[in-house]
């Protein structure tokens, strides 16, 4: 038998146990109530699919072809009425506080019926993630309070995230590239705030969101150290909406152009900038900005992986139904051995994709953005304390600068680079695994269904169109492969350099 120190030494060898066997490590730490809660979330998603998503998916897709200017206000109202825009907002900010990993399961369920409808719900949480992971608690509280109120008074208040620019997509998601990128969104420091000029494109739900978390830069040649995060509200002087894109799929979810012309942003709406960052850390600004980006993306990319799995599952379910109803050469297709093997392969793809995003969520729960909320005492405290307690006792504390300081210190300054790499690398793995199998299963379903699969009214061709987008957003799958290399492989090989060709 090996001694404890020998075991420890062996497990520290590459690939490290702590970076790879995440489910094994997290299982004993997981609050048991999370399982029941996640079951509830899946049931809620299935009910929504039966009552809303499935009856509307194809009709809405058709409608967006008939009327390219269509915006999904009706759908947003339905989702708002069901409380979907506050389900995963922590109770300390007035939300329902469902455990954050459960959103991936929800995404897979609704995504299996319609990725566009899922994005109408899900991309709100991309904006919320950009806001939450800043730990600017007074601003988080202010914005999310409007989201909660919007749910109560039936006037939806959504949050979008604006990073991509006309000349820069991949560049703005990677601090090693951004300084050489064609960046244009300038945030100029003025008394009492910033003045922003520039354009953002492909901003999901930009036209329909009340708030947008915007990233600008005070020095366009040194963006990695001068990033400024700001919350922009529709109606602000100098903030206008441009067109929304004519996309191949996910058409029910608009991709908007946002235009900023001499738009003044008061300090109260600044999420994060160099000045704030300097208050709690002496680490290089570029490193902190990358961690901030990674912190949010580690959660959301796992979610996009679940979107891809949803597409894969939708394609599989359509193919299975078709095979079960269709005769070929006198036998049901489902009884042809080659079809059984195709269906088995598609089923396997779904399972592998799901395992990948679950593992990425475990990484976040053990070592990333979910860690604090999913520590057993914290989880149960949040789950079972009445909302009034959070509103009256905890909420005032969030107004203090010390709350922001403490949370940022914990999240970024005390957070190890190894933890960051583990979460970010696994999120990328989940993202490109899930989204690649999404397109793959659609291709297989089309091959199996032949002529029937080509018709929009059969559903599969729409899933194929929708699925392609998830290989692109939240970083192309190529960027995510490079990020996996950077985070999970390169650290063991110091001579390896990424983004330096």
């Amino acid at each position: 038998m090996l001694s404890c120190s020998e075991v420890s030494t062996r497990l520290s060898q590459y690939p490290k146990f702590e970076d790879t066997m995440l489910s094994l490590q997290y299982a004993p730490k997981m609050p048991k109530a999370m399982v029941m809660e996640t079951k509830q979330v899946i049931a809620i998603a299935r009910q929504f699919n039966d009552e809303v998503a499935r009856p509307l998916a194809l009709a809405l897709d058709r409608k967006t072809h008939e009327d390219p200017d269509y915006l999904p206000w009706d759908l947003v109202e339905k989702a708002n009425k069901r409380g979907f825009y506050s389900m995963w907002i922590p109770k300390i900010f007035g939300g329902k506080g469902y455990n954050l990993p459960s959103m991936s399961y929800f995404s897979e369920e609704v995504g299996s019926v319609c990725l566009g409808i899922m994005n109408v719900i899900g991309v709100h949480y991309l904006g919320v993630a950009g806001l939450l992971t800043s730990y600017n608690t007074p601003l988080i509280k202010r914005v999310l309070k409007e989201v909660i109120q919007g749910e109560k008074n039936g006037k939806p208040c959504l949050v979008a995230l604006a990073i991509t620019e006309p000349g820069a997509g991949t560049d703005v998601e990677e601090m090693d590239l951004i300084d050489k990128g064609k960046i244009t969104c300038l945030a100029k420091r003025v008394k009492g705030g910033y003045i922003v000029n520039g354009r953002k494109i492909f901003i999901s739900m930009g036209h329909v969101s009340t708030w947008t978390a915007l990233y600008g830069y005070t020095d366009l040649k040194n963006a990695s150290e001068t990033t400024v995060g700001m919350m922009m509200k529709q109606g602000m002087k100098g903030f206008t909406l441009g067109s929304h894109e004519n996309k191949m799929g996910q058409r029910v979810c608009p991709a908007s152009e946002l235009i900023f012309e001499d738009c003044f942003v008061p300090d109260e709406q600044v999420i994060v900038d160099a000045q704030m960052t300097r208050k709690y850390t002496k680490k290089p600004l570029k490193e902190i900005n990358m961690r901030y980006m990674d912190y949010a993306l580690s959660a959301t990319r796992a979610g996009v992986g679940a979107f891809g799995v949803g597409a894969a599952r939708g394609a599989f379910e359509h193919a299975l139904k078709f095979a079960n109803e269709t005769e070929l050469n006198g036998k049901l297709l489902i009884n042809h051995q080659w079809a059984q093997c195709m269906l088995a392969e598609m089923y396997k793809n779904v399972m592998v994709g799901r395992l990948a995003y679950i593992e990425a969520n475990y990484a976040n729960s053990l070592r990333g953005a979910y860690k604090l909320l999913q520590l057993k005492p914290m989880y149960y405290y949040q789950k079972y304390m009445p909302q009034a307690y959070f509103d009256k006792v905890i909420s005032p504390f969030l107004e203090r600068e010390s709350a922001t300081w403490l949370l940022r210190k914990m999240a970024y300054d005390w957070h190890s680079l190894a933890d960051d790499h583990c979460c970010s690398g696994w999120a990328s793995l989940a993202k490109f695994t899930g989204t690649d199998i999404g397109v793959r299963n659609c291709q297989m379903a089309l091959e199996l269904m032949g002529q029937a699969g080509l018709r929009q009214d059969r559903g599969v061709e729409k899933i194929l169109r929708d699925a392609k987008l998830v290989q692109i957003y939240e970083g192309t799958n190529q960027l995510n492969r490079l990020n996996l290399f950077k985070c999970l492989i390169a650290p063991a090989y110091p001579q390896a350099k990424v983004f330096e060709e």
Binding site: T170, L177, Q337, G450, L454, D457, I472
Partner: protein
């Protein structure tokens, strides 16, 4: 590549190139809006005028009497720009080839020499299926010298715009199926709205219901599968040429974009992963081009087993194309997903073309059973 081996095809190549540049390239997005926008009737009329709707049809029947090589060269070039027109050319050529296989010279002469417009020259056909594998076909009933068709036919390509249709149907209790020519203006025919499909939007299809519609038998009773097999073997290469054109179009757009789009301060073509994607696309397009060239030569030279080679070439090309067009979007990132660029349309069209003449798995099963000399009807489950 085909024009290198067969220089006499160069004029067809030039004609298709100039036609595509003149009539298609600048209006791809507009033409793709159908059925939610107008149909490109003017383009179809011009395609008819230059002879694209009768390339393989003998001159004595009003065509231009060229072989499969000319058809492939034209489809390749047209599909680099907009494969919807390619789908129309393909479907009409398939109808003509089936009737030709059935030996219906008089019918061919009657239809095509008298046609004075594109619509009159078009013969609709369900080109995305192998009729022999369809469970549900219309039924034909003989009454005296006439035949009456009853039943539904799904996904009749060009059914909404052509004057006539070539319809596979079951004839009484007889085994197999037969082909019938139907005048689509006759009473008793109900057509659906144009079907909203994945790709080839301007090569539209409709579902059709026949209610005791008078029809003319094409060839002999029950020999539909023989005519279809003979025609489709050749037409598989034409479908392959369509997807080869799509791959070339996708590669060209991706390459041009990669030389302009900046990332990390340099053109993305200088990032080796992008170069690798482009290289893989080029390999696929070149291999496809060689497959089409070789298959056309095998047909022209009447090589042994050219039919099997054609099916194999087409199956391979379609798989290559579906991968290549996916990468074609990826090189352009978010822009590739938008209708302002051509890549998203190619992503859809390539899959649509893959489904021409029936499902890929069934083509593979049929091919191996034929190679093994086994009866097609006895495949084990």
């Amino acid at each position: 590549m085909l024009t290198s081996f067969q220089p006499y095809l160069k004029p067809f190549d030039d004609l298709a190139s100039s036609f595509a540049a003149r009539e298609l390239v600048k209006k791809i997005e507009e033409h793709d809006k159908y059925p939610f926008g107008p149909f490109f009737s003017e383009v179809l009329d011009k395609a008819y005028e230059v002879g694209f709707l009768g390339i393989v049809l003998s001159e004595e029947f009003g065509g231009i009497g060229q072989g499969i090589g000319a058809l492939c060269v034209i489809l390749d070039k047209i599909c680099q720009a907009d494969s919807s027109l390619g789908g129309i050319i393909f479907t009409n050529a398939l109808s003509q080839e089936i009737m030709h296989s059935a030996g219906e010279k008089q019918v061919l002469k009657k239809i095509f020499t008298k046609a004075v417009s594109a619509c009159e020259f078009l013969v609709a056909y369900p080109s995305f299926c192998n009729p022999g594998q369809m469970v549900k076909l219309p039924e034909a009933k003989q009454t005296g010298k006439d035949f009456l068709l009853t039943g539904t036919l799904d996904y009749l390509v060009l059914g909404g715009i052509a004057s006539r249709a070539l319809v596979p149907a079951k004839l009484g209790d007889k085994a197999g199926y037969s082909f019938f020519l139907v005048d689509l203006s006759k009473k008793g025919i109900e057509k659906s709205e144009p079907i909203f499909s994945l790709g080839l939007h301007s090569c539209p299809a409709v579902d059709v219901v026949f209610k005791s519609v008078k029809a003319q038998l094409i060839g002999e009773e029950g020999k539909g599968s023989i005519y279809f097999d003979e025609a489709s073997k050749k037409m598989h290469v034409a479908a392959g040429a369509m997807n080869t054109g799509i791959m070339k179009g996708s590669f060209n757009e991706a390459l041009a974009y990669s030389k302009e789009r900046l990332q990390g301060g340099c053109e993305i073509i200088n990032w080796s992963e992008v170069s690798m994607i482009l290289s893989n696309m080029l390999v696929k397009a070149n291999v496809a081009d060689m497959c089409v060239t070789q298959a056309c030569q095998a047909i022209d030279q009447n090589s042994k087993e050219w039919g099997k080679n054609c099916v194999a070439a087409a199956l391979h090309i379609h798989e290559l194309a579906c991968d290549a067009v996916t990468d074609g979007i990826q090189v352009l990132g978010g822009n590739g997903y938008m209708k302002d660029y051509g890549q998203e349309k190619r992503y859809r069209d390539a899959r649509q073309i893959q489904a021409l003449l029936g499902t890929a798995p069934m083509k593979k099963i049929a091919m191996i059973r034929e190679a093994a000399g086994l009866d097609d009807t006895c495949a084990q489950v």
